[in-house]
Amino acid sequence: MATEPKLSHTTAMILQAIDAGFVYGFSIMEMTGLPSGTVYPAMRRLEEDELIRSRWERQAIADREQRPPRKYYQLTAGGKTTLESSRKRYPLLQRMVPPAEAKS
């Protein structure tokens, strides 16, 4: 049985932000207050560990809204399990990063 990765507080916060609906890099930066040099490398590691996966937004949607297409991130099943254990480890995680709808 593979052991669950133990995430740092920062990485867990990024994972929580994605789960909360902040699904692209800049919104995660805004939500967590972390600099780009921290957020993007952390997301690369999470993606390599298959805790999150990414997909590009369809060009047609971006064109309709007259903006470049975004790269969206979402949690994998493994990511959700890891996030659950991280929430137990860091109890304040959910309060620090509330869901996107709650924020708006």
Partner: protein, 476 residues
């Protein structure tokens, strides 16, 4: 108008930062990585655009965002190197080995160019100073200083390098009446010289008269080439002729070579007398002989290194096995071109080592020994010997561990056999070429039927089991 131009300029700076950072990203991922950062930058700029005209803060934030791309790029590059170490394809290859040797050679050459000792020696070797080029003139009783008479080039080179004199001689010049049976009465310019003058000057003397030294013997008179021809008709039996010089009798001891005319004073003859003292009332000249600079007693620098290298070649069989190896009896040999390449590689390594040994030993000698010291050359000789000895040993051992087909280092050593069964099978180490060209068997206990290491070249059909080109072994 100005604002929009400023926006374009700022945006170009941001894009330039991102593009520069993207150079760190492995090529297959680079375009997508750059696309994501450019997209994100667009959103950052949109957020900042409302404040763009009123405050520099948004611009700073955008720059900080772009600088974060470098951290991301460094992380990706680091992980890429962890997965695929750089130069892994070149590692163990023949070009890398030659590159290491060439780097050593260029480094020693560079040190030789910068080293003050070597530079000074190079300059001194260009300007050869003959004893007659370096004289000191004593003008008379009131002259307490000795003025150096030397050419400008000689003076300049002496000013740059400290050198020592290892011999002095002197002569002082007078006009003396001369009478002899062999020549008409005349007046000459005669130099009263110390007995070691010609030894210091290193002038050869022709028709030398062997006169035994002693207090009752007549002083020797050495004629100039010009005077000998003019007053004695170039008579080769001139040696031993008695000549009356002023108030003393002297015997002609020989004829100085034509170079003697370079000496100041334009003398007709030198009266060499061990009891001669420098005259206080006459102009005199002190001749100094400089110690050799950068020359070992046995010869010039390259001879010293060559001697060390030759000795190293002779001593090499004493410290390592010089046999390169053989092919197994049941093994096919590589093609002739491959075998020639194998030997060309060995020759190239030795060719790079030898100039390296010369330059490195020269650097060491010039760094640790004073140029005019008696030890000049000994450090060079010993370092040449040691560097070439251990360098050649390394080259041989490296060659013995190379695949004869691709010249890469053989890898993955494995113990084979048992000591108790050496009569039935060989005991030693087996190495394999990481690209599947050959096996190398090195016997640990040499026997009459297996004394030297052997290559066993593998059939090309084996290669699919081994490493991909440029990668590490997938089998082992």
């Amino acid at each position: 108008m100005i604002i929009s131009a400023l926006r374009i300029a700022v945006h170009s700076v941001h894009l330039g930062l991102l593009r520069t950072a993207s150079l760190l990203i492995p090529v297959p991922r680079r375009s997508e990585w750059l696309r994501e950062w450019r997209t994100e930058l667009w959103y950052v700029m949109r957020e900042c655009s409302s404040e763009f005209t009123t405050s520099p803060r948004p611009m700073r934030e955008a720059v900080a965002f772009c600088l974060g791309a470098y951290q991301d790029a460094f992380c990706l590059r680091k992980r890429s190197w962890q997965k695929h170490p750089p130069f892994s394809a070149a590692w163990g290859g023949a070009p890398l080995c030659l590159l290491v040797l060439a780097t050593g050679l260029f480094a020693s050459w560079g040190i030789a160019l910068l080293s003050p000792g070597v530079r000074a020696e190079r300059e001194m070797s260009r300007i050869r100073i003959y004893p007659w080029q370096l004289l000191q003139k004593h003008s008379g009783p009131d002259d307490r200083a000795l003025n150096v008479i030397a050419e400008e080039g000689v003076k300049a080179s002496l000013g740059r390098v400290q050198r020592y004199f290892d011999g002095f001689a002197y002569y002082w010049v007078t006009h003396e009446p001369i009478s002899s049976k062999a020549a008409p009465k005349t007046q000459w310019i005669v130099a009263h010289a110390s007995s070691d003058l010609f030894a210091v000057l290193q002038f050869p003397i022709r028709f030398t008269l062997r006169v035994p030294e002693g207090p009752d013997q007549l002083p020797r008179l050495v004629l100039s080439d010009e005077t000998w021809k003019r007053d004695f008709g170039g008579d080769p039996r001139i040696a031993g002729t008695e000549v009356h010089v002023g108030s003393v009798n002297a015997k002609v001891g020989g004829v100085a070579c034509a170079d003697s005319r370079n000496l100041p004073g334009h003398v007709n003859a030198w009266l060499v007398d061990g009891n001669s003292e420098i005259g206080t009332d006459n102009a005199g000249f002190v001749v100094g002989h400089l110690t050799p600079y950068g020359y070992f007693q046995m010869g010039p620098r390259w001879v010293v290194s060559l001697l060390g290298i030759v000795l190293a070649f002779l001593a090499l069989p004493g410290i390592t096995c010089v046999a390169i190896g053989e092919y197994g009896s049941d093994s096919r040999k590589p093609p002739l071109t491959r075998r020639l390449r194998f030997w060309a590689f060995l020759t190239a390594k030795v060719s790079l080592l030898l100039p390296f040994v010369y330059l490195a030993s020269l650097d060491l000698d010039c760094s640790f020994v004073q140029p005019s010291s008696h030890f000049t050359g000994y450090v060079q000789f010993s370092s040449s010997l040691l560097l070439s000895l251990f360098g050649l040993r390394w080259i041989l051992r490296d060659q013995q561990r190379r695949c004869p087909v691709c010249l890469r280092r053989m890898a993955h050593p494995a113990e084979i056999g048992q000591p108790a069964r050496t009569l039935l099978a060989w005991k030693g180490t087996e190495l394999v070429c990481a690209r599947g060209h050959a096996l190398l068997h090195i016997p640990e206990i040499p026997t009459s039927w297996f004394g030297e290491q052997r290559w066993v070249c593998l059939d090309p059909s084996w290669q699919f089991l081994f490493a991909r080109p440029g990668g590490t072994s997938s089998l082992l």
